[in-house]
Amino acid sequence: MKNFKVFITFTIVIMVFAQLGLAQISGRDIMQKVDEQASVRTEMNKSKMTLINDKGKTRERELTRYIKSFDGAGGIDTKTLIIFDYPADIRGTGLLLWTYTDAAKDDDRWLYLPALKKVRRIAGESKNDYFMGTDFTYDDMGARNIDDDNHTLLGKETIDGIECYKVESVPVNKNDLYSKKITWIIPEKWVFMKVEFYDKSGVLQKVLTTSDIREIDGIWLPHVLFMNNFSKTHQTKIEVHEVKFDSKMDDQIFTQTILQRGRVQ
């Protein structure tokens, strides 16, 4: 009888795990796979950002981004060059960002304004957590270290007919912008389907949804990102038009000379 009880318990445990299909995978493992899936040395993309305010009015901007990962060579983590293409009055405006592996070191930023024909270095913390009036923080856009959060697999859930892993990520640092994030990840493709951001007081602040997920250069990429910011009644839509991964990218691109030229070629 006793053995039978143990057997029953064991079976139930097995069945539950089988049901979840995750007997062997943890939340951290999933996040690791997401990281690895999107891990590239360089990325070039052209995208359109549409900002929508609470009255439904919009601002559109088109920009080209070059990102290169340095993996700590010379203390540098990544270098990014952003050049605005649209609207016409800001065409050629550029932003160059260097981030460092040493977390204590402030990012270096240079801005070029074609109307003034001058490059200026902007030092210090960005006062605004959000990237240029969007609903994405610099953190949301950049690569966050996997161990900055504790990840817990909550189970599986089906969204839009796709069965996703549901992972809760709680920041290790209690002063983080968010109290937690819940992410839905498409298995095998290892891309985000949806992310919920909860603010410090535990209230749902933003929801990111992705769509148009296509494989480019062997990497699964959502071509449309939609962030709905409830706390600000503001929305941001990013549509990627063109993207290239791991193409050859000269270090010279990430210099003030190119920034000032306003184009890479």
Binding site: R120, I122, S126, N128, Y130, M132
Partner: protein
């Protein structure tokens, strides 16, 4: 002359006499049904609702709030010997963080969350204004210098003496008494929590509105019972009988209940002006029943057979004309307020006229019905007292008849002298002045005005391509113009932010604090701002697609007349310099106060003229004589001129409440003249010579007139305990003006009548 056909009167009073229980039952039932609605009345403490909704200014204010966000903010001001001391800064940081976490708060402006821009080699640097709380005097000196260099902070968030700083909470929800209630409680709890040794003051529109609501509730709790007890006391003294006191009291209560019930049915909101309604009804609405009851008592004592029904018939027949007239002129006075542009005045006129008309109706239906059912008790005033009064009135009348020429000349000179005060009348529409200078709400707002550049704003809308330097230069020119106006402390517009970016981009050098020359540069600076500034700051000065912008001019002046001038000058400047295409609207709270000035003056004029014309028309019809109409308004005109002259010389302002004074005073005050003329004509037609007729009138109707006026005066004195200054002064002035009307009727009328012997009275019939 009589009103209504005689046989109609008969049938109606016969019906009342025949079915007294039905009349009483119906009156009570109807009152209960109306009273059932009273709990539905909502209190409205919003200052904006003083203005008519279709007023252009309200439309434009709503539009501006729609585009640039509301001005619902609460300001907490901290005072300390040095606000940059470690302890105080820590407190400000903790307070700001706590406010930031409140669900009703959208964002917080405080020195602990501001940023500073400074020039560095090859660029500029954006950092928190206070990265690290300064620990010694040297560090504090550096911080002070940084603050002094930032004009968006110095004199705005930090007072120029560094003893005060404000923490501004911009609320995420707007309007609604629930929000006001919540905000009021939260911020006062915060104040209690963080006070000491720092002093904390709380101000802001939600706080002001809640304070107004609280004062209104306090006023109602004080004024209503006080007024009622005063009335009962007065009635008991004069009638020395419970019946005599009880019936007018019931009439007044029923009139108040029905009036408030009607208010609820019409969906009207209870504003601070509405406090006047029950008080007015207490003071005025008992007159008619008092007349009926006292005449009934007199007749009853005089009659031999003590036939109640017959006596009631006689009483109603005798009194219907003068009582009806007194009522109708009062109703006309109140209805004249319909010509007022301000909704609260119109509302009060409508409701008070309904209440008075109803009291009149009850006095000739409910009161006779009740009298028939009740025992006839009562000890009337002792004959002794009455005779002393008669002797006094006799001497009084003889004096004014004897010295009529001298007296009327003195009157004329007096009127001319006091009239010279009229141009000095100051109009005041600032809702802050509802309160005494020493009141908490005034003290708090005065601090904001004095140390943080004022809490009142003029808001100007700009339209066009806002990124275009041509448009921006116009805005800059208008800002410069506004800043040289003595009442304006500072202006805030998109121009400031663009200049600030230009300065930052050029090594934070002051010589670059100017507008750039090209549209591209403006657009690129705006993009720069989204990188280095807080974009939310921009939403109150420019709309999302850069087609509309707002210029805010902060004002620390509270005089409505100055604000009216600022408004008119600004509109004129905009019109002549730019045309209205660039700046289509000059609005904001300053504009509300400014426009109210004109509306109060206009409303005062219109309602005054209308009520004078209507009241004199009623007298013309009544006595079938133009002269009678003109005569009847002589004592009124003297009273009006005296009251306005007094206002001018004593500095009592013409405001939303006192602007209603003249119509009400005319409607109530003319009664005395009408009663006097009516009796005088009766005495003359009975064959008495003028002088004797005057004396007879004084000792008969004169007594009633004096008693009537005194009860109104006493009724209005309760307004002197109101927490609202306009109501307080309204009370003072109405007491003064009714007294003037009374004295006018009892002095000027006798002297005038004997002097001119008007034909409509002395004609041979």
């Amino acid at each position: 002359m009589s009103f209504g056909k005689q046989d109609h009167v008969k049938t109606w009073i016969d019906f009342v006499m025949q079915y007294p229980r039905i009349v009483i039952g119906f009156s009570i039932l109807f009152t209960l049904l109306m009273g059932w609605n009273i709990p539905k009345i909502t209190i409205d403490s919003d200052i904006i609702s003083m203005l008519p909704e279709d007023q252009e200014i309200i439309v434009s204010i709503n539009e501006m709030e729609e585009i640039f966000g509301g001005s619902e903010l609460v300001i907490m001001s901290l005072k300390s010997d040095d606000i940059f001391s470690e302890a105080t800064l820590r407190k400000i940081r903790a307070l700001s963080e706590e406010i930031e976490g409140l669900p009703i708060v959208d964002r917080v402006l405080s020195i602990t969350n501001m940023f500073k821009i400074s020039g560095i080699e090859g660029g500029f640097e954006v950092r928190d204004l206070i990265e690290k709380i300064p620990e010694n005097e040297a560090e504090r000196a550096v911080l002070r210098q940084v603050v002094m260099d930032d004009e968006l902070i110095y004199g705005n968030i930090v007072s120029k003496d560094f003893q005060r700083t404000s923490v501004i909470a911009i609320l995420s929800v707007s309007g609604g008494s629930d929000t006001d209630q919540i905000a009021y409680k939260i911020f006062h709890d915060l104040k209690r929590k963080y006070t000491g040794p720092e002093e904390i003051n709380v101000a802001g529109l939600p706080i002001t509105r809640k304070s107004i609501t609280l004062t209104m509730q306090k006023d109602m709790k004080a004024l209503f019972p006080f007024g009622i007890s005063l009335m009962i006391f007065l009635l008991i003294i004069s009638f020395r009988s419970w019946t005599g006191a009880f019936l007018p009291f019931v009439v007044v209560i029923m009139s108040i209940i029905n009036t408030l019930g009607l208010m609820a049915l019409l969906g009207l909101k209870f504003s601070f002006i509405s406090i006047l309604i029950p008080v007015m009804l207490i003071a005025i609405a008992n007159d008619y029943s008092i007349h009926i009851i006292s005449h009934y008592f007199e007749e009853y004592h005089a009659s031999a057979d003590k036939q109640k029904n017959m006596i009631i018939h006689r009483t109603v027949e005798y009194l219907q004309t003068p009582v009806f007239l007194a009522g109708i002129t009062t109703v006309i006075g109140f209805l004249s307020l319909q010509s007022h542009v301000l909704p609260p005045a119109r509302q009060l006129g409508l409701l008070a006229s309904f209440g008075v008309a109803l009291a009149l109706l009850l006095s000739v239906t409910f009161v006779p019905a009740a009298l028939q059912l009740l025992d006839v008790p009562m000890i009337l005033k002792s004959d002794d007292k009455s005779q002393r009064m008669s002797r006094f009135l006799n001497r009084w009348g003889s004096f004014f008849i004897k010295h009529r020429i001298r007296f009327l000349s003195v009157c004329l000179i007096f009127v001319l002298l006091i009239a010279s005060g009229i141009p000095r009348i100051v109009v005041d529409t600032n809702p802050m002045h509802y309160y005494r200078k020493s009141s908490e709400i005034r003290v708090n707002n005065d601090i904001i005005d004095k140390y943080f550049g004022g809490s009142t704003q003029l808001s100007i809308k700009a339209e066009g391509d806002i990124k275009d330097p041509i448009v921006l230069r116009k805005m800059e020119q208008l800002c410069d113009y506004l800043e040289q106006e003595p009442t304006v402390t500072r202006t805030i517009s998109i121009v400031d932010y663009i200049k600030k970016m230009n300065k930052a981009f050029n090594g934070d050098s002051s010589q670059y604090y100017v507008l750039p020359d090209t549209r591209e540069a403006v657009a690129q600076y705006l993009l720069l701002f989204s990188i280095s500034g807080d974009e939310d700051d921009l939403s109150q000065v420019v709309d999302y697609d850069y087609r509309q912008a707002q210029i805010l001019a902060r004002v620390n002046e509270t005089s409505s007349v100055s604000l009216n001038r600022l408004l008119k000058d600004t509109r004129q400047y905009v019109k002549t310099e730019f045309g209205e295409a660039t700046f289509p609207a000059v609005t904001g709270f300053v504009a509300v106060i400014g426009e109210l000035v004109d509306l109060v003056v206009r409303g005062q004029m219109y309602s005054l003229i209308l009520s004078i014309v209507l009241v004199s028309l009623v007298c013309m019809v009544l006595f079938r004589s133009v002269v009678a109409g003109l005569l009847s308004i002589v004592p009124l005109s003297v009273a009006i001129i005296t009251v306005f002259g007094l206002m001018g010389y004593s500095g009592i302002e013409l405001n939303v409440a006192t602007a209603m004074l003249s119509s009400i005073m005319i409607g109530v005050g003319v009664d005395y003249t009408i009663h006097f003329l009516y009796r005088f004509r009766y005495e003359v037609q009975a064959g008495r010579p003028a002088q004797e007729a005057v004396i007879r009138t004084l000792i008969t109707s004169g007594k009633g007139i004096i008693y009537n006026a005194l009860s109104v005066i006493v009724g209005f004195t309760v307004l002197l305990v109101s927490g609202f200054l306009p109501i307080y002064f309204f009370g003072f002035l109405i007491v003064f003006s009714i007294s003037t009307c009374l004295i006018g009727a009892l002095t000027i009328m006798p002297a005038l009548l004997v002097m001119i012997k008007p034909k409509f009275i002395f004609k041979k019939s």
